[in-house]
Symmetry: C2
Subunit: 306 residues, 2 copies
C-alpha cells in the first residue's frame, strides 16, 4: 500500500469512516461546549480539533466491522471516539512543561501554550471521565447489554490507567537521557502506545460481540500494529519534517530519548516496522478474518509519512 | 455534636467504618503496588496515605446504611474508596506548581514535592481510571446488576468531570485575585467540593437500591453538607493552625482567593455553616430517614476543627 502524503489510501469503508469519526468528535465537542463551563470546554475542544490521524477510532471501527458489526451502526462511532478522547488526554499531558514541554501538536500550538498550564492539565484530566461516559453512551445506543457495557468501560480504563498508557508515559519520561536496550524499549511502548491501540481494537471487537478466537486474533494484531506504529513514529521523528508531521521533528534527539532507530539503525527499524505489520495481518488471516480495512491500517501504521 | 480535636466523635457505625475504609484503601494500595510499575505506584500510594479525614467514603457508607444497605456488606467499602481516589486525584493536581503550588498536604509533603511534577501529574490522572475500576469491582461484589453498576460509574464520572469537580477546580483557580460575590462563590464550590460529596452519598444510596424519595433527600442533604463543609474549610484556613490542619493555613489569603469568611465575615460564615448542616439533617427527617451517622457527619462537616 502506498500512503499519499497527508491522506490514508485505503478501502472504501475507511474513507467513509474517517468523516464519520470527525462528525462524531464534533458532536462530542458540541456537547462539551453546551454542558461544560467555557473555561474548561475551550481547551478540551481545542485539544480534540486539529489534524489528527484518528488512528485509534479507525482501528476500533475497522475491528467492529471485521467482527461482523454492521457499518454505520448507531453508537459505534461514539465508542470509537472514546479512544480518541483518552489518546488526546495523553497528548495534552505529554506536552506539558513538566513532561516533554512541546510547542506544536497536530499542526497547531499545544493546548498549554494557548490556554496556560493549569487549564491544559485540568482539561486533559477531564477527558478521561468524558471518555468513560462516551463509551457507555455509545454502547447503550448500540444495544449492548449492561454487562457488555461494563466490560467496555473496564477495557478502556485498564488500557488508559497506570498499568497501561499512563504507566507507559512515565516509563518513557524516565528513560529520557538513559540508554535503553531493545526489550526495555519494547516494554515502554507496549504500554505507552500499545495498550490503547489494542484496547481500541478490542472495544470494536467486543462491541460486535466477537467470539474468543476472533478477539484473540484482534488482540495479537493490535500488539504487532502498536509496535509497528511506534517504530514508524520514531523513524518519522528522526527523518521527517516538522511541517508534514504537525509536531516538532527531532524532539527525541533533543530530549535524549531512546528510540528504535537509535537502537536498531534507521533501515533495520523501517523493515522491523514492516515485518510487524505483516505479522499483524497474518494473525488475522490465521483466524480467518477477512478485513481489507485492518490490512490497510496495519500497513499505514508501519509506512506512513506523518 | 462536639468534635474532639483530631477524631470524629460519632455513632458507633462511624467509628467502625473509619478503620474499614482505611483497610479497603490499604487493599487498593496493595493491588496498585503489585500490578503497576513502581515508578507510578509509589506516588499513587503515597498520595492515598497520610492523615485524611476520609469524609467522602464515610458519607458513602453512611448513605448506604441509611438507605437499608447492610453494615459490612462486601463491596460497599470499595465503592466508598472510589470516591476517595477521585478526591485524591483532585488534591494531587490542585497542589501542583501550575495550580495552587502547595508544599504540605495531610500532614506530609505534597506528592510533587516528593516525586516531582511529572510523576505527580501522571499518578494523579491514573487515579481516575482506577476509581472507575474500583467502583465497578465493588458494585459487582455487592451483587448489583450490570445496569446498576453502569449507573454507579456514570454517577462517579459525571461528578468528577468537567461539569463537576474538575470544572470547579478551574473556576476556583480563575477566581484567584478577583473579588467574587456570594452566588458565584457558591457556584464554584457546588462544583469543586459539592459535586463529589453529593456523588459519594448518591453512590451509597444507589448501591443500597434507594427509592426515588430517599435518593432525592440524600441528594438535598449532600448539597447542604457540601456547602457547610466548604464554608468550614474556609473558616479553618482563615483561623486554624497549620499543624492541626495538616496543610498550610492562610493559603487562601496568600493566593487572594475569595472565601466565605471574606464575603460574609467569620462569625456569619460559621453560623451559615451550622445552618446548612441543620438544613441537611432536616431534608433527611422530612423523608423519614433515620440515620444518626449522617446527622453526625453533617455536624462534623460544619463544626470540625481540622
Amino acid at each position: 500500500m502506498r500512503t499519499a502524503g497527508r491522506t490514508l489510501d485505503a478501502p472504501e469503508l475507511l474513507t467513509r469512516a474517517r468523516p464519520r469519526v470527525e462528525e462524531a468528535l464534533r458532536r462530542v465537542a458540541a456537547t462539551v461546549r453546551t454542558e461544560l463551563p467555557p473555561a474548561l470546554a475551550e481547551p478540551m475542544v481545542y485539544s480534540l480539533e486539529g489534524d489528527g490521524k484518528r488512528l485509534r477510532p479507525l482501528l476500533c471501527l475497522a475491528a467492529f466491522h471485521a467482527c461482523g458489526g454492521p457499518a454505520d451502526a448507531p453508537g459505534s462511532c461514539d465508542i470509537a471516539c472514546a479512544t480518541e478522547l483518552i489518546h488526546t488526554y495523553s497528548l495534552v499531558h505529554d506536552d506539558l512543561p513538566c513532561m516533554d514541554n512541546d510547542d506544536l501538536r497536530r499542526g497547531r500550538a499545544t493546548t498549554h501554550r494557548v490556554f496556560g498550564e493549569a487549564r491544559a492539565a485540568l482539561a486533559g484530566a477531564a477527558l478521561i471521565p468524558l471518555a468513560c461516559r462516551t463509551v457507555e453512551r455509545g454502547a447503550a445506543e448500540l444495544g449492548l447489554s449492561a454487562s457488555e457495557r461494563a466490560a467496555l468501560i473496564g477495557e478502556l480504563c485498564r488500557a488508559a490507567g497506570a498499568g497501561g498508557m499512563i504507566g507507559g508515559q512515565l516509563l518513557d519520561l524516565q528513560a529520557e537521557g538513559r540508554s535503553v536496550e531493545l526489550p526495555a524499549l519494547e516494554a515502554i511502548h507496549r504500554r505507552k502506545t500499545g495498550a490503547l491501540l489494542v484496547a481500541s481494537l478490542r472495544l470494536g471487537a467486543l462491541a460486535a460481540r466477537a467470539g474468543r478466537v476472533a478477539l484473540a486474533a484482534i488482540t495479537e494484531y493490535g500488539r504487532a500494529v502498536g509496535l509497528a506504529f511506534q517504530i514508524a513514529d520514531d523513524v518519522l521523528d528522526a527523518s521527517g519534517q516538522t511541517e508534514v508531521l504537525g509536531k516538532m521533528a527531532g524532539r527525541d534527539r533533543e530530549l535524549a530519548k531512546s528510540t528504535f532507530p537509535a537502537v536498531l539503525g534507521l533501515e533495520v527499524a523501517r523493515s522491523r516496522a514492516r515485518a510487524e505489520a505483516e505479522a499483524a495481518v497474518q494473525a488475522l488471516e490465521r483466524a480467518g478474518i477477512d478485513t481489507p480495512e485492518l490490512v490497510a491500517l496495519a500497513r499505514f501504521a508501519a509506512e506512513r509519512e506523518r
